[in-house]
Amino acid sequence: MEERAEYRIVVRGELDDRFAFLFNGMRMERIEGTTVLRGPVLDQAQLHGFIERIEELGLELLSLEQVVQPFRSRGWAVTT
């Protein structure tokens, strides 16, 4: 079973849990005027979809990082 990558995305402003459905059910935590989204991401296409959602909502993206590395087999394909 391949382990997926996990990403941590922080946006400015506190958002209610109901916004999680736009981000495929990522966990949401509100910390001091920001919202931290954290969860597994299927692949780069999905990640870019999330970024687009953030752009569509006019949210300010503060940070985005991969916090859990996926299992990678040999090869250079960018999947996540």
């Binding site: 506190e14 109901r18 916004f19 692949d43 296409a45 979809g49 687009e52």
Partner: protein, 471 residues
């Protein structure tokens, strides 16, 4: 072929003329095409932003004006106003970009149509669909550039420029910008940094930019909106509090205004609003919704899954009657509902607002969205508007499917043609030969198709397309 008929078979001409066979192409409803070529109608409630309009007259030598800011900053509204001001004496051409314009034949056919609409005397004679994508740079653009030089002063707005992804369409535009004469003013509005060589333009002083910092509302502009237009009778300190809290973000200020309209104690509302850590959108959508009667709320929430909408489509999706009147009424009081034609038959929600409504819909009626998509799909199929049927087909599978992440962006007509051919035995190179497109173009379409369908192989793409009723 009259210009009108020519426009109607825009995307098919390049393919049909070369391939020589019959290709079933979904007919584009005429109103869709018209709306690409005109700015949104001016609305009474919008505030004329003279300080910004003045800046849209660029200094000599400016090759490109870029209005670059996130969603909800009023880019389209501003440029629409600018267009309207030009009127008949100094007309300005308009084109709203969508994903279909990534194909250079489609893009330049529309650009030429937009320019001809504003400048009937323009003598651009090379038709993109006649020569095909491969000859954009050596036949279509040189002819157009010469025609524009001969014509004199002209201006073109490309709205929603961010919908052009990397590829031949955007590249051809970069080529054009580099070579067109300085009497031509190109203005683009975009949500992100456009993939054009802005660095070089900036360095040479050939770029004019209006960004979020300039587009944000000043307290004076907020006052004009809130007190002059909407007659909310707010104290200056309250206006300032709203501007501070939203940092001048126009969509945020307008959402606050909509909430305030229904509010009994406006000062109290502003205090509460200012004190919140919650993001503006999170706080306000509830307020805006609850200000309406239940039927209108249902209409707003359920139609949020639609792209463009008319009364009949909403009736089908809601399984109710009376949507046409409600849409008309709502559009009078809510700037986020944008009329798409003069007859006020078609509308769409501002994308930001639609997104917020969708979140709220999922909250109030979890799992209903796919059902609504299915109803919309059936309506579109019955009315022959295939492109939108495709979008709803993709979205009508329940989210719990557990498959790969999938963006519900619609496949362009050209992508649909390629997808159909991917079912067969031809290699990408041979498909290219069949369609008179380069191998690179086919490959780029194929990658885009995989991405949109969440597929990682040709077989998977075809399978998913079949499951979604696309082929």
């Amino acid at each position: 072929m009259s210009p009108r008929e020519g426009l109607a078979s825009l995307s098919t001409m390049g393919v049909a003329l070369r391939a020589g066979g019959t290709l079933e192409q979904p007919a584009r409803p005429p109103s869709l095409l018209k709306t690409k070529l005109r700015p949104p109608a001016g609305r009474e409630q919008t505030v004329p932003r003279d300080r910004l309009l003045g800046r849209l007259r660029p200094p000599a030598g400016t090759k490109l004006t870029a209005v670059a800011a996130p969603a909800g900053y009023g880019k389209t509204t501003l440029l629409g106003e600018w267009c309207e001001l030009g009127g008949t004496e100094e007309p300005i051409a308009w084109l709203t970009i969508d994903e279909g314009d990534n194909d250079p034949v489609v893009l330049w056919s529309y650009v030429i149509a937009a320019l001809r609409r504003a400048y009937p005397g323009l003598e651009a004679t090379v038709s993109p669909s006649d020569v095909g994508a491969a000859h954009t740079l050596d036949a279509v653009l040189p002819d157009l550039i010469n025609a524009l030089t001969a014509f004199g002063t002209a201006a073109l707005v490309l709205d929603d420029f961010h919908r052009l992804s990397s590829g031949p369409g955007r590249d051809s535009l970069a080529w054009f910008i580099d070579r067109v004469s300085s009497s031509f003013q190109l203005v683009i509005s975009t949500r992100n940094e456009p993939g054009l060589p802005l660095g070089a333009l900036r360095a040479h002083g050939q770029l004019l930019e209006l960004r979020a910092a300039q587009l944000a509302f000043t307290p004076a502009e907020a006052d004009a909106l809130l007190n002059d237009r909407l007659r909310l009778n707010l104290e200056p300190s309250d206006v300032k509090a709203l501007v501070d809290r939203t940092e001048g973000w126009p969509a945020g200020i307008y959402l606050a205004a909509l909430s305030l309209q229904a509010s009994d104690d406006r000062h109290e509302f502003v205090s509460k609003f200012s004190g919140e850590n919650r993001h503006v959108v999170d706080f306000l959508v509830d307020e805006v919704l609850n200000a309406h009667d239940p039927e209108t709320q249902t209409l707003m929430l359920r139609s949020s899954v639609l792209g463009r909408m008319c009364g009949s489509l909403c009736d089908a999706v809601l399984e109710q009657r009376g949507s046409a009147d409600r849409l008309l009424e709502l559009s009078r009081t809510n700037l986020f509902l944008v009329p798409l034609d003069d007859r006020r038959e078609w509308f769409r929600f501002h994308q930001l607002f639609a997104q917020l409504l969708r979140v709220e819909l999922e909250q109030r009626e979890p799992g209903l969205a796919p059902v609504l998509h299915r109803r919309a799909l059936l309506w579109h199929r019955a009315h022959g508007t295939a492109e939108e049927a495709v979008e709803h087909a993709l979205a009508s599978e329940p989210a719990s499917r557990g498959g790969r992440g999938r963006r519900t962006s619609v496949l362009s007509e050209r992508e649909l043609v390629v997808l159909r051919m991917l079912r067969g035995p031809l290699s990408e190179r041979d498909i290219g030969r069949e369609l008179s497109l380069s191998h690179n173009t086919i490959h780029s379409h194929t990658r885009s198709i995989y991405r949109k369908l969440g597929a990682s192989s040709r077989a998977e793409a075809v399978e998913r397309a079949r499951a979604a009723g696309l082929v």
